[in-house]
């Protein structure tokens, strides 16, 4: 692979995995300083992605492909366009900062190496998701993010809450992933290609396909679970059990945005239909409101941020769903802005937690003088989040209002957006003002500014939010508009301005948002109490539902297994024979192929006689009351069978049958008479009736099947061959023996192997003595 150009991107994809392998080693020797060294890898990847920006702004796209599983059309292909490159930039860029931050945050932690390892694995997977062109490759990376986030969320694994959150994330996002897999494969078959870049051009075929609804439902199941859309939103706040660097990374630019990415990616292929334009905005809007309302309820700063993330994701899904170009442009800018301010705010909260020892809203205050740099970062980011000029968040809000206002059903979506944004404004204010301003509160730890590792990330991202806001025109041209074009599938380049050039509805909406936001902020404490009260009254949520579902499934599984696997051998046998009877009769009934009851005429009397003896023998055995009688009677039918063999030209068989039958009876008698057994059958008469009918049914079925076969003409080619060559080539006059040792000698080889192993197995049964009961539990299975 070359070091420059499109192919070099494969190195950028490989980089994080290399870093993951290096982390434990470096962390062992360099401790937290290892993160400086390791951060170089994502930084290099960032530069690599950056090199594509001018080309993409000029309307180019890039594609590179390696063979992976050609048998099944799975390629290791990457597709770089406006959409994927922005995501890649965010993932690698913020990833670099998070790497540094992790070093500071987990300084001195004994598992720092493992942590960085998981983080890089996640980063690699996430880069793969956004860059993969092949839908199967995309899915592989998609599930990898689920698995690695499982490890990251559960990092603090000795706490039950962490484990629960990790499993929850794995089950919800992994489960959604399975639906996505089916959806993507269906789309691939319908669209005629497994490459996303080609699939995007067959949007019309997909939208008109009879499978469109199925594809749509499956794909949005994947996207909604990953991006925490209502009612799957609950795993995201729980994932806050993870160390803060994880939250800052997963919930700003990466994991949770994967679903949004997917929807944006599929917009040209699946978007624009009524279904798309209804379901997405509705669920997005609901998620927006649920997220903000639940956010107000929280006092834990990290949880406040988590719920606003949920809300922001809802907003993004809603905007994408409208399929309106301006709204999508709004989504793009908002997504970009959100990645910057949310990443920064999470790091700020982490730093506060790290330095002050708490992140409870009511236990912190007046930290600005103690932690000025962090404070500045917090204020800048919060301004962006609140959507105030001159930060990029403001631009985002202007454009998105413009979009919803003009979209189909725009009024409703605008309403959702207004309410959500106002609450978001209030929450942004809370996060920035409460901890840093106002009167000083005594915190568990004496707070002061942390090391550069701790503030570098947040201040960088915060300043970036300001810079991109100030230079929005060129940022728009270079980065945001190409991304919008990629989502729309058509070129889109509308000039962006920091300040509106004319008085638009968007500006009024913006002002209304601020006004409403301030009111909410003022009554925040009261609102919190009210919401808490309402939630208490409801007393149930999807989070609790998850536990109940799992518990229910496990309990149901237990009952089901115990019902099927009763442990009663008698039931097993009955079930088995019922199935056998079923299989015997169903083909006959369905094909109507019953045998003719004929052909008794040509029999001699003694043949009837022998058959009768055999039947009597069996009947006697079945009804025998005592074992010994049964065993002796067993011989009768055996000898009758031997006689039949003799009468029908099989002396070898007959002799063998005589010998074997005698030996069987002798051994049976030898073994069984030594046991002190009760003679009774011990079956109730009802059970006997059932067993008798079942046995007769099976017997009759086999009889009829055999009859219908022997009434057909027979093809004797094989035996004619054996007869012809038995003496001439194989030098034997006893054809049966020649078959045994020559024509079909391998059967005999297998047969004597069975005999030999039987001998050994019986020896093992008799000679090996079990160990004494006391230690058998631990001894069994060393």
């Amino acid at each position: 692979m070359p070091l420059f150009g499109v192919e070099a991107t494969f190195w950028a994809l490989l980089g994080p995995f290399v870093a993951a392998a290096l982390s434990p080693i470096l962390a062992k020797t360099l401790k937290h300083n290892a993160s400086w060294l390791l951060a170089i890898i994502p930084a290099l990847a960032f530069l690599q992605f950056l090199s594509f920006v001018p080309g993409i702004a000029a309307g180019q796209t890039f594609r590179a492909s390696l063979e992976w599983v050609p048998t099944f059309n799975v390629n290791f292909s990457i597709y770089l366009d406006g959409l994927s490159v922005v995501f890649a930039l965010l993932i690698s860029g913020i990833g670099t900062l998070i790497t540094l931050y992790s070093g500071g945050y987990l300084k001195g932690h004994q598992n720092l190496g493992q942590f960085l390892s998981y983080l890089f694995l996640f980063m690699g997977a996430m880069l793969g998701v956004v860059l993969a062109d092949n839908i199967i490759t995309l899915f592989v990376y998609w599930e990898l993010t689920s698995i690695t986030s499982f490890l990251l969320i559960g990092f603090d694994h000795l706490r039950r809450a962490s484990r629960r959150a990790a499993v929850q994330a794995l089950v919800v996002t992994g489960g959604g992933g399975l639906a996505l897999m089916a959806g993507l494969i269906l789309a691939g078959y319908q669209g005629g290609s497994f490459e996303m870049s080609e699939l995007l051009n067959s949007g019309d075929i997909l939208r008109e396909s009879p499978y469109y609804t199925a594809i749509f439902v499956l794909v949005i199941l994947g996207a909604f679970t990953k991006s925490a859309q209502f009612p799957f939103h609950f795993w995201l706040p729980n994932a806050m059990e993870a160390p803060t660097p994880v939250s800052a990374y997963l919930h700003s630019a990466t994991m949770v945005k994967a679903g949004v990415y997917l929807l944006m990616r599929m917009q040209p292929a699946l978007g624009g239909t009524e279904l798309w334009m209804t379901i997405l905005p509705i669920f997005g809007g609901i998620t927006l409101l649920v997220g903000t309302i639940l956010g107000i309820r929280q006092t834990d700063l990290k949880l406040v941020l988590a719920y606003t993330t949920v809300a922001s994701l809802g907003l993004l899904v809603m905007l994408t769903g409208t399929s309106d170009p301006i709204a999508i442009q709004g989504a793009v800018i908002y997504l970009f802005a959100h990645s910057l301010f949310k990443g920064s705010l999470f790091m700020v909260v982490g730093t506060v937690d790290h330095e002050a020892g708490t992140r409870d809203l009511n236990r912190v205050g007046g930290l600005f003088s103690l932690m000025p740099i962090t404070g500045v970062a917090a204020v800048l980011s919060a301004l962006s989040m609140a959507g105030l000029p001159p930060l990029i968040g403001f631009v985002a809000k202007e454009v998105l209002y413009d979009g919803t206002w003009h979209a189909v059903n725009g009024g409703l979506w605008t309403g959702f957006a207004l309410l959500g944004n106002a609450m978001m404004f209030a929450l942004a204010a809370t996060v920035a003002i409460k901890p840093f301003f106002g009167s000083k509160v005594k915190t568990p730890k004496a707070a002061h500014e942390g090391s550069i590792l701790l503030y570098a990330g947040s201040i960088t991202l915060a300043v970036l939010g300001l810079v991109t806001g100030l230079f929005i025109v060129s940022v728009g041209h270079q980065i945001l508009s190409p991304m919008t074009s990629a989502i729309l599938g058509t070129p889109f380049d509308e000039e962006l301005h920091l300040f509106p050039t004319y008085l638009s509805p968007a500006l009024y909406l913006s002002m209304a948002t601020v006004a409403l936001g301030i009111i909410i902020f003022m009554y925040l404490d009261k609102l919190r109490l009210i919401i808490a009260e309402i939630l208490r009254t409801i007393g149930w949520g999807p989070d609790k539902g998850f536990d109940q579902t799992i518990e229910g499934i496990v309990r149901f599984a237990g009952t089901l297994s115990n019902t099927i696997q009763t442990g009663s051998m008698v039931r097993y046998m009955r079930a088995t024979f019922v199935v056998i009877a079923f299989v015997l009769y169903v083909p006959m009934i369905l094909t109507g192929n019953w045998p003719k009851l004929e052909g008794f005429g040509s029999l001699y009397v003694y043949e009837w006689f022998i058959a009768a003896i055999a039947v009597i023998g069996v009947y006697a055995v079945v009804t025998a009351r005592y074992r010994v009688t049964a065993i002796v009677l067993l011989g009768i039918q055996g000898f009758a069978v031997a006689l039949i063999f003799l009468l029908f030209g099989a002396p070898d068989l007959s002799f063998t049958q005589f010998m074997v039958e005698t030996l069987s009876v002798v051994i049976l008698a030898l073994v069984m008479t030594r046991l002190n057994l009760k003679p009774t059958d011990a079956r109730s008469s009802r059970a006997k009736l059932f067993d008798t009918s079942l046995a007769l049914l099976c017997g009759a079925g086999i009889s009829m099947l055999l009859m219908s076969i022997v009434q057909l003409p027979f093809d004797p080619t094989l035996s004619e061959f054996f007869t012809q060559y038995s003496r001439t080539i194989a030098h034997g006059r006893n054809i049966v023996n020649v078959i045994l040792v020559d024509f079909r000698g391998f059967d005999t080889l297998g047969e004597i192997a069975v005999v030999m192993v039987t001998g050994l197995a019986v020896l093992a049964l008799i000679r090996v003595r079990p160990k004494s009961e006391g230690n058998s539990k631990s001894e069994n299975n060393r």
């Binding site: 694994h157 992994g174 297994s561 094909t591 192929n593 060559y725 080539i729 093992a764």
Partner: protein, 528 residues
Amino acid sequence: MAVTQTTVDTAAAMVTEAVPLADWLLVAPVLLTMAGGATAIIFRKKSFVQPWIAIATISLVILSNIGLLNHVLTNGVVTMVMGSWLPPFGIAFTADPLGALLALTASIATLCVAIFAINSIAENERRYGFYPFLLMLLCGVSGSFLTGDVFNLYVWFEVLLISSFGMQILGNEKIQIDGAVKYAVLNLIATTLLLTTTGLLYGLVGTLNMADIAGKIKALDSSGPVLAIAALYFLAFAMKAAAFPVNFWLPASYHTPRLVVAAIFAGLLTKVGVYALLRVMVLLMPEGRDWLASLIGLVAIATMLTGSLGALAQTDIRRLMGYLVIAGIGAMLAGIAVGNEVAISGAIFYAMHSVLIMTALYLLVAFMFQMSGTFSLRDIGGLYIRTPLGAAIGLVLLLAVAGLPPFTGFWAKLLLVAGALEADRGWVAAGVLVSGLLTTIAIGRLWIFAFWRGGNEHTMDGIQALPIAGSSDASEISWSIWLPLLALTALIVLIGVMPEALMSISDNGARTLLDPTEYIRSVFGGIR
């Protein structure tokens, strides 16, 4: 002798041209294991040489199987007729990619188990036949995979069955005997059904050679008996493969023998049933398969769901793994139910995956037992802290069995789902996916309980686990566990990351099954 010598046209009855030596690779696994098994019995009192006889034999078998697979991939389906008798008169051994691939995988799993057994099977149990049983089991399994004759298939089934009986009871503890009764009786019914059906099939078509049957059965106009025989074969092999609702024997017995034994059982036994289903339902009786497709689909889904739900319901890790075997069987049946190239190739890939993963999982159970001294999900815990490497192996294996990428199980599931969707059988795909989700929950729980949790289920939050009584340190775990466990895990990761080679073999195998011309041509050569 009084008779005058007659002239015989030998060429009309026998293969007369020289046979390439490479064709002997077809019978090598069977003959080697038989010779090895017999030798091990002769030396049974020298218990320290036993493992090495077995390991040497199995290594040779692996080499021979690699050669065979290579032979098949370069020259197409390979046939050798025993005793030079022209097919269909003698017994033919025929290796197609399916058979050769599974034979190789099976021998690899057996080698791992043979190594694991070095330090885990007591002297007395070695003397009474562990290694001979193991070798004869491999003999029966290899014979089943490679034979091209239905009656001969039955014989090899019996070889592997009696060997498995021997392994099952080794130790003679109460629980083993009880498990053995259920295992043995139910399996005997299955093989008897198999023999009955084979007898009926012979009565119907007058031949036993698979290629010959595949050709002749098409010519039969009477569909009734053919369908009945197809249904009976399906039932017989479904019992062997442990499909719902005839799989009672598996959960009743897999937790009872020695773990080594459970490992090889889980790896090989059910897969032989699946193999036979593929061979008989797809190659020999495609009409029967088409006719039964919906039923097989239902059975597959029921098997997958009862398997994965069963895994969720268990407290004993060994039983949990047993249910995972069942869930996997359901997935393979789903491939047979769908029956197109992608799905069949998925079933083949899954079978290969299942041999490796189930063996590895029981080795993992042994490892976990050594570390914690318990099989109960309630009592186990704290393994992550004590053995990060073990935890990583555990995670990889469990993710692989749940079908998550980038491990072997994922590719198998992918093919199955894609095949089902391509064939417009979305409900089968849904079954595979739902079962995958349930399995994910089950393995997620298992992993957090055993590894992440600090101690047993009563451990308080965040408190470092105290070592559980009877447990040992990771460094005390014998190399005879580490080596096979690491090797299998490495193989699973390697195939998961680079699946192309095996995908193309599976695909090749599926094509050979679906279009029997190559198989028939290989057996009959230029005769027909």
